[in-house]
Amino acid sequence: MARKGIDPITLEVLWSRLIAIAEESAMEIIRTAFSTTVRETHMFAVVLLDTKGYAISHAGSTMPSFVGSMPLTIRKLLKIFPVESFQPDDLVLTNDPWLGTGHLQDMTSLAPIFNKKNIVGFIGITSHATDMGGKLRSPEVRDIYEEGLQLPPCKYMTEGEVNPDILRIIRANVRVPEQVEGDLISHMAGGKLAAQRVQAMLEEYKLRDLDSVATTIFQRSENAMREAIKKVPDGEYRFHVNTDGYDEPLIIRVEVRVRGSSIVVDYTGTSPQVDRGLNAVLNYVFAYSAYSLKCLFCPTVPNNEGNFRPITVTAPEGSILNPRYPAPVNGRSMVGQFIPSVIFGALCKAVPEMVQAASGSPVWAINAAGVDKLSHRFAGNFFLNGGQGASKNHDGISCLSFPSNTSNTPIEILEHIVPLLVERKAIIRDSGGSGEFVGGNGQQVIVKSLSNVQILLSFLSERTRHPAYGLFGGKNGRVGKVTLNGRPINPKRQWVMSPGDRLVLEVPSGGGYGDPKDRKRDAVERDLREGLLSIQKARAEYSFDGDYSASDSN
């Protein structure tokens, strides 16, 4: 071996093992979690970190925003709780949005991994709680105090014993204490399992700690990321997108500066922070910025600290992408999930074949709660995803979560949790932006109240006025829409659904890529056959002159 340190074969084995440990821990969490948010929609992440709080590995199918912000959270927590203050089976917990992922619902825990008497690393877990008290999650809030319980960093568990006072405080503040406490139990289960597995690995390979393997993993990954960035032409690439905002549109402006093997992402010029829950803290902004660049340049190398090192992210303090405490933040995904589309927009001049047109995101959600006539409390939330943006050689996929990774809740499960009847959940035909490659379609969901009492409703929704853009001649996607009993409503506010009311949500679709004139005829015919394209649109957008019935031969 030319390089000193770990040989590439041992490295591959240890690296796979460290990823597998995070995966195994994630499985344990899914199986032990109590909320649909964790177990059905998988809104959580497990990250294995070194003693300095740098990410070594994480479970595969997970939340990009959690994975990217976690190391920042953990490093701040380690300043408050230094390494030497930990005992085995300790667990530090917080939901501070500025330390964590940007809103109170996300609880981040930190547990040490001991090998004999020494701490060799940490396991970090973030999961989204169904409820954190305060106002039912809605961007309507005016400050952080309306959003619910704030839990500053604390030792939730000391040597295996949960602090009963902290638990009581949490339980007293949330609408669904069993779910919130239950999810925290799953943090303990997942953390414990990961620690045991790391210990076994160290023993098997006669290693004292993770330092040398972590250093090598970071170095290799950083090199791979830098090599990939070097291929991007140097320059300053600018772009901006508009979001619906609360009443007034907001602007996210970016300059991506590529120099050699490094990238600076600068959000100067972005809207100042607002007095509604539409502010995203810098941790969250960093996470989605780094994630966007990794997807573009280095998607096959497992993610870790090394991938982050060539990237710097800045946003003006006091803006919607770097708000000051106590700004309201609970709808932070309604701005932060625009980040990939603004970065892709900027870089489309540099790497046109790599970028993707905008997706019909952020992910939408319906939160519904109430108390029925028998005094049974019900509360549930479910998520809806729009169409994916198209890219070179790839049509966007209809109803696919991006940049989040949120599964839908099955209708049959939903109808057991809340007194709603889903009358329709279907792809909106013709809605994806036309192009040589077509944007993914959005979906329409029609919901009727079966309740005999009023149901409190709030939404997460965006792009009802500002569509997902197309690229290189590709058309924009269709905007979204929310109507209650046929009348359009502002979905950023809270609403009340009366018995028999009908709600229609149309989730936006993705933008197209390339000139529609260049779309291959067999692709047009396939879309006609699959019913995803109408003959009218085929003729108007793609100059299709064929006979529909002939192409519908099977």
């Binding site: 995966e23 059905e40 779910q179 303990m188 998607p299 959940k425």
Partner: protein, 686 residues
């Protein structure tokens, strides 16, 4: 005499077994992919001829086949239609909306088995409590079916919302199909998979409809050619059923061959006195593992087939049928090794298969495979491959690994070969650990049962990694699945979703349900020839704490239940939960989802006496010596090579060593000992 036939991708294995004497004849024949029944019958005939037997002497034939799986993977099923509740025609396209690899901007998903033009909606609606909110129109039903038939559909999947609670509408549609279109087969979700979660249920029902016509035809043909020998099918639930009843829900035959392998492992393990096992079968393209506790293979009710990305979970079509929990743990002997863009060594999932095969086969494959690495490490004897029947080119293996792995990694050829062996084992170890920990099992209590051509080559180092202390290599490792078929009882099962807090379960409703389902099980088993007094009924409930989504399946009492039985059920669940997840949760109520009934016939008692093993009699088992790579010494050492067929019970040997047999070599590392027991199982202690 009973015949067992297991049709795999490359080989068709046949065993003829005499119940009286235990005499077992084994044969391996090439599979005939375009019509696998041809190869199976030819193989059976050849084996019968070899020993001067006739068809007439067979009392039954037990069969496992990859036909159902392959038809889906290769998209060779029937032209299938789908009928859904109005408003939900896109259910197959929408799926669960998440991505299985977050960094891949262009993930691929499997094409639905039913194209859009064959999907139809029906106006109807049933609520979550089973109430009919919108009745069916018979006229609309008929017109809809007619449209599908006009499009050439010959199999229809019907999947309506909440049909797991109230199947009435699905059944009405079925009656209409049967009455007006008797040639069209149909699959109802309330029969194939009556479980909550509409996407997974639809996916399963569609897959069933897709394979039903070809599986039925295949089974009819095979039965016709068997000269009236009764035909039984191995199901994924670990039981066998008559060909006729298997053909009704053919999706339950998915993975039937590997299920046979897991049962063989359970059988051979129990024979040597070990009940907690990990079945490990490693063939040419994949390695599969299954956890067995108290001689019973773990079960799953969520399976996945036809992955677009082989090692990526959730990149395939979900199938919800009771299935022996086999997971694809990693690569096989033919899997290709390469160096990736980061300069790291990777193995699989691409495979060279049997043709062109590993570089050392000399059949034109020039990519380095796992088998090539094993050969360079001395683990495979080139002069005794498939008992010396196949020529092996060591220089080709060496060259391929040197050029493709060692040079790019700037390492020695041997280190590269060891790296391949090690990386493959690491992948399998990771998968095995996850499988064990899902139920909180401690690896030190488990014994690895290694089968398949490459299984015994990799078992030792895999066991060390996982922390196992014992390995069993049964005789005829390459034929384990087909031997397993002979150990399987008749088995039928039912499932009903009745979702409720455990304390609010209506015991009377449950008793009525169980009585009806158990009657159904009895009549199916009796139709297969099982005597009533031999039938055993087992019940399970899928339970979780209120709010959790992944229930544990817990055995519950049989017979007429009383309300105090709910406490017994609660205790069983709590015990099982602590065992699986280590920590008790108090003061949280339980919720039950599904109720399952299993009707099981008697397990056959079998003792195999292999009649056509290549060497019999006595002699010195020590064949000679060979230099093999030992990781502890970071180099080659000369070790003893033993002839498997001449090892006698009670002789104890020390590792490192090799034990050779016709289809495989067992690699035994340092700090270990081994012996064969009276059942000819090779047992390694480490």
């Amino acid at each position: 005499m009973v015949a067992a036939i297991d049709i795999g991708g490359t080989f068709t294995d046949v065993v003829i077994y005499d119940k009286g004497s235990g005499k077992s004849l084994v044969g391996k024949y090439l599979t005939t992919p375009h019509d696998p029944s041809i190869g199976a019958l030819a193989g059976l005939r050849a084996l019968l001829d070899e020993f001067g037997l006739r068809f007439k002497e067979l009392s039954q034939a037990i069969h496992a086949t990859t036909l159902a799986t392959n038809a889906i993977i290769e998209r060779k099923g029937a032209t299938t239609g789908l009928i859904t509740t109005k408003g939900f025609v896109d259910i197959l396209l929408i799926g669960r909306e998440s991505r299985y690899d977050i960094y891949d901007l262009v993930p691929e998903f499997p094409e639905p088995l039913v194209p859009m033009s064959m999907r139809r909606e029906i106006t109807e609606r049933i609520s979550g409590t089973g109430e009919i909110l919108q009745p069916l129109s018979p006229q609309e039903v008929k017109v809809t079916i007619q449209e599908l038939v006009d499009k050439g559909v010959n199999s229809i999947a019907v999947c309506l919302l909440h049909s797991y609670i109230n199947p009435e509408h699905e059944e009405t549609i079925a009656e209409s199909i049967a009455e007006f279109f008797p040639d069209v087969s149909f699959s109802l979700s309330s029969q194939v998979c009556p479980e909550i979660r509409e996407y997974e249920r639809t996916s399963t029902t569609v897959a069933n409809a897709y394979i039903q016509p070809i599986v039925s035809r295949y089974l009819e043909d095979l039965e016709a050619n068997l000269d009236d020998v009764p035909l039984y099918l191995m199901l994924s639930n670990g039981g066998i059923a008559t060909a006729q009843s298997a053909a009704k829900i053919p999706i339950r035959m998915i993975e039937s061959g590997p299920a046979g392998g897991a049962l063989a492992a359970a059988y051979f393990g129990a024979q040597s006195g070990f009940e907690d096992l990990i079945a490990f079968d490693m063939g040419g393209t994949t390695a599969k593992t299954c956890i067995i506790e108290k001689s019973i293979p773990h079960f799953t009710f969520n399976f996945e087939i036809a992955r677009v990305k082989r090692f990526k979970k959730n990149s395939g079509l979900p199938i919800q049928v009771p299935c022996i929990d086999l997971i694809e743990a990693g690569a096989g002997g033919g899997s290709i090794a390469y160096v990736d863009e980061m300069g790291l060594l990777k193995v699989g999932p691409e495979s060279q298969g049997a043709s062109p095969g590993p570089a050392c086969y000399g059949l034109g494959g020039d990519k380095p495979t796992v088998t090539d690495a094993d050969l360079l490490l001395g683990y495979i004897n080139p002069a005794y491959f498939l008992g010396g029947m196949m020529e092996i080119f060591s220089e080709a293996a060496s060259q391929s690994i040197r050029k493709n792995i060692a040079e790019p990694l700037k390492s020695q050829e041997v280190q590269a070969a060891w790296g391949i062996h090690e990386v493959v084992n690491e992948t399998m170890a990771a998968a095995t650990r996850i499988q064990l920990s899902e139920r909180g099992n401690d690896p030190r209590n488990f014994t690895l049962v290694a089968t398949g051509g490459a299984g015994p080559v990799h078992a030792f180092h895999l066991a060390r990694k996982v922390g196992l202390h014992r390995i069993i290599c049964p005789p005829a490792a390459g034929l384990a699945s087909s031997l397993g078929l002979l150990t399987v009882p008749f088995k039928v099962d039912t499932v009903d979703s009745y979702v409720s807090p455990l304390e609010e379960v209506d015991v009377e409703r449950l008793n009525t349900l169980f009585a009806e389902r158990e009657k159904q099980c009895y009549s199916l088993l009796k139709a297969a020839g099982v005597k009533e007094r031999d039938i055993q009924i087992e019940r399970m409930a899928d339970i979780s704490f209120e709010g959790q989504g992944y229930p544990l399946s817990v055995s519950i009492p049989t017979g007429k239940l009383k309300s105090n039985h709910m406490e017994v059920i609660e205790k069983s669940f709590r015990d099982k939960y602590v065992e699986a997840h280590g920590r008790a949760i108090n003061n949280v109520p339980l919720r039950v989802f599904n109720w399952r009934i299993f009707g099981i016939g008697p397990s056959p008692t079998v003792t195999f006496k292999f009649a056509n093993f290549p060497t019999k009699g006595s002699g010195n088992p020590l064949k000679g010596t060979q230099r093999i790579y030992l990781p502890e010494s970071k180099g080659f050492r000369k070790v003893n090579v033993y002839n498997r067929y001449l090892l006698r019970p009670n002789q104890k040997f020390k590792g490192p060593a090799l034990v050779e047999e016709r289809e495989t070599t067992t690699v035994i590392g340092s700090r270990s000992s081994f012996s064969v027991d009276k059942n000819l199982n090779l047992i390694i202690e480490l």
